[in-house]
């Protein structure tokens, strides 16, 4: 299995040691991407959150107990499990930057992509979307509202990428060589601790270039060869062990 190569590769680097699990990223994502609130939010497996914060535990008794928080957007895999299975090419990885797209008007709602994704990063619209009265006035105009019966997921705020490219064109710059910070996702922007950093991993001028190459950087379920474009950074070995199903006798990197 070979991952597709892109000149620009948008990557998210998340420092787990900086994340406090505050959930600001989830809220920002929800607001930015017009995620409709679900009627019964107690049924967690039907709640629409493109980005979920997981709580990790080292499962040790006090005083050695330790926890970590792991924000999980779509991994925008280089070799996405979801793309090849979609029968109607509703999801694809062709966009420059390596973002996995989701074409809502083409999705037939078969949910095969959800079955393929081990990260549970894809969500199905079980009901017609509806917002509390007045809330429709604050919807993001650049993000389409998805109907019932289709699958959706994090797009790395793709509309912001389009805006950044448009801005660069207007300013006479190369839209394929955006500066660090020209294009950031809403979760990265909202993170109070700066735990989420976003940029082009192929560009040495971007902060993620170094972060992704850190000895403490690793990716979720890396051994499955999906080649995610989200890097997690943690100096804690037990955290890194939990990211990739390390067997007991295996040496964790970093």
């Amino acid at each position: 299995m070979e991952a597709k190569e892109f000149k620009v590769r948008w990557v998210m680097a998340i420092d787990i040691d900086k994340c406090t699990g505050c959930g600001a990223c989830m809220v920002a994502c929800q607001a930015e991407n017009n995620l409709a609130p679900v009627e019964d939010a107690s049924f967690k497996l039907r709640v629409m959150n493109w980005l979920v914060v997981y709580e990790l535990s080292n499962k040790q008794p006090f005083p050695d107990h330790d926890i970590a928080y792991l924000p999980r957007p779509c991994m925008q895999c280089g070799n996405p499990p979801c793309v090849s299975v979609c029968p109607v090419i509703a999801t694809d990885k062709n966009e420059e930057g390596g973002i996995v797209s989701q074409v809502t008007p083409r999705c037939i709602g078969c949910r095969y992509c959800m079955a393929a994704c081990p990260y549970h990063a894809r969500y199905f619209n079980w009901f017609d979307p509806s917002w509390p009265e007045g809330m429709e006035k604050v919807l993001t105009p650049d993000v389409s509202v998805r109907p019932r019966g289709v699958v959706e997921k994090c797009t790395f705020c793709h509309h912001r990428f389009m805006q950044a490219k448009d801005k660069a064109i207007v300013e006479g710059r190369d839209p394929e060589a955006l500066n660090d910070g020209d294009y950031v996702t809403s979760c990265a922007e909202a993170c109070p601790n700066g735990a989420i950093v976003f940029g082009d991993v192929n560009n040495p001028d971007h902060a993620v270039y170094e972060l992704a190459r850190s000895q403490y950087a690793c990716r979720l379920l890396e051994r499955l060869h999906a080649d995610p474009q989200v890097y997690y950074i943690s100096r804690r070995e037990w955290v890194r062990r939990q990211l990739d199903n390390y067997l007991e006798n295996e040496q964790v990197k970093g």
């Binding site: 997981y54 990790l56 079955a115 549970h120 199905f124």
Partner: protein
């Protein structure tokens, strides 16, 4: 001519020389089955009007009871293509006595599966996108093409039987069409075998290519993963005995012998032989899965099972109780020719294949791949059971009408001659 009032009101429509129950009794039966159909229709109406939120599926279990049901009935309906292959291509002549039933059962299974799929996809109106925007890399595309094409083949195979209805057959055009379709049947049997093989295989391949789901992921053989072949062989290992079970249930309901024991035994022998082949590959596959796929994914065998609901008992029941035991019974002449053992083996065989489809569909999704994730459980709700009941009721109605009015069983007259 004086009318015989002791005969059912619709006796003129019956096949030549057979007896059927009274029309009132038959209508009562259809009414009973119709209750389940109405329940299913109500569920279908709710799902289509309110969306899949009416079901118990969620973002973990995008595939649930319906897909399990689909995979199971399609496997069990494999008697149609496999028996057709044996009868028309390999010229195993005695199978002509059960081929009509296999075609009807196959038609019910495939058309029923398609009806379920209409409910199962979130955007039924876009179902045709599978053809228009076909992704040639997706196993599901192959499934979409093969299931629809094979369903058409089954309709073509069913038509001559309908045209052989006593009254319809008096119309020269219909008689000629039926005759000519019969002449061409080996061609359709061949096409059907080809399409259904790929369809069964693609259903297995669908799971085998999920490389990020170690519970179902398998290495490739040519362009297909192992599961492609396992699904094909398991289908032909269960389809023939499923047809026999259907015939036996019809015999119990109608109080008549419809298929001779020799034919049933032959079908059992065929299924047993295929089950033997399947089990060899399945055990080898399980061994390779435990020792190659799982360690590569950083998982151990025990991590793939959870509590009672997704416990190892499912695996051992599938392979042992519903695999090895029916295989031994079906392949041993003395055991196979003991009706109680034969039917037990047939039921176990069908249950085993259903468990296999269930674990591939549900357990595969329940099993957490991310180490910090947790097992989730799934319990289908009334709407999902209702839709399945609709298909079962639909099958019962089609079978009942076919049995009453069409010459389905060539042996029926002879087997019941003394009784009459």
């Amino acid at each position: 001519m004086e009318k015989n009032y002791s005969l059912p009101a619709d006796h003129d429509l019956f096949p030549e020389g057979v007896q059927r129950c009274s029309l009132m009794k038959f209508m009562g039966w259809l009414g009973f089955v119709g209750i389940f159909a109405l329940w299913g229709l109500y569920a279908a109406f709710r799902v289509l009007s309110n969306g899949l939120g009416e079901t118990a599926m969620d973002d973990y279990f995008g595939f649930g009871l319906w897909i399990t049901f689909d995979l199971a009935v399609i496997a069990l309906g494999a008697g149609a293509f496999f028996t057709g292959l044996l009868r028309y291509i390999l010229n195993i002549d005695p199978l002509k006595n059960i081929i009509n039933l296999t075609v009807i059962v196959g038609f019910i299974c495939y058309s029923g599966a398609m009806l379920i799929l209409v409910l199962d996809i979130g955007q039924p109106i876009r179902a045709w996108f599978g053809y228009w925007h076909a992704n040639v890399h997706s196993m599901l595309t192959e499934v979409i093409f093969c299931i629809t094409c094979y369903c058409i083949v089954l309709i073509i195979e069913y038509i001559p039987l309908i045209f052989e209805q006593k009254q319809l057959n008096r119309i020269p055009l219909l008689r000629h069409i039926a005759h000519n379709l019969h002449v061409m049947m080996p061609l359709f049997a061949g096409i059907g075998a080809f399409l259904s093989t790929f369809h069964q295989g693609s259903l297995g391949g669908m799971y085998g290519v999920l490389f990020a789901r170690p519970y179902v992921y398998r290495e490739g053989f040519f362009v297909w993963p192992w599961t492609f072949f396992l699904f094909v062989i398991s289908a032909v290992a269960s389809g023939p005995v499923f047809t026999v079970l259907i015939a036996t249930i019809m015999e119990k309901f109608g109080g008549k012998k419809l298929v001779s024991w020799e034919i049933k035994s032959l079908m059992g022998k065929i299924a047993g032989a295929m089950l033997f082949v399947y089990l060899i590959f399945k055990f080898a596959d399980t061994y390779a899965w435990i020792n190659n796929v799982l360690p590569a994914a950083g998982l151990t065998f025990d991590q793939n099972f959870y509590s009672t609901i997704y416990g190892q008992w499912l695996l051992w029941t599938e392979l042992g109780l519903c695999g090895v035991i029916p295989c031994i019974i079906l392949l041993t002449p003395s055991l196979r020719n003991t009706p109680s053992l034969f039917y037990t083996a047939a039921v176990l065989d069908c249950i085993g294949i259903t468990i296999n489809r269930y674990v591939f569909t549900v357990q595969a999704l329940a099993m957490p791949v991310m180490p910090f994730d947790s097992w989730e459980t799934y319990n289908p709700n009334w709407a999902e059971w209702g839709a399945c009941a609709l298909i079962l009721a639909y099958g019962a109605i089609v079978l009942s009408l076919s049995y009453r009015y069409l010459p389905v069983f060539p042996q029926e007259r002879k087997l019941n001659a003394t009784k009459a």
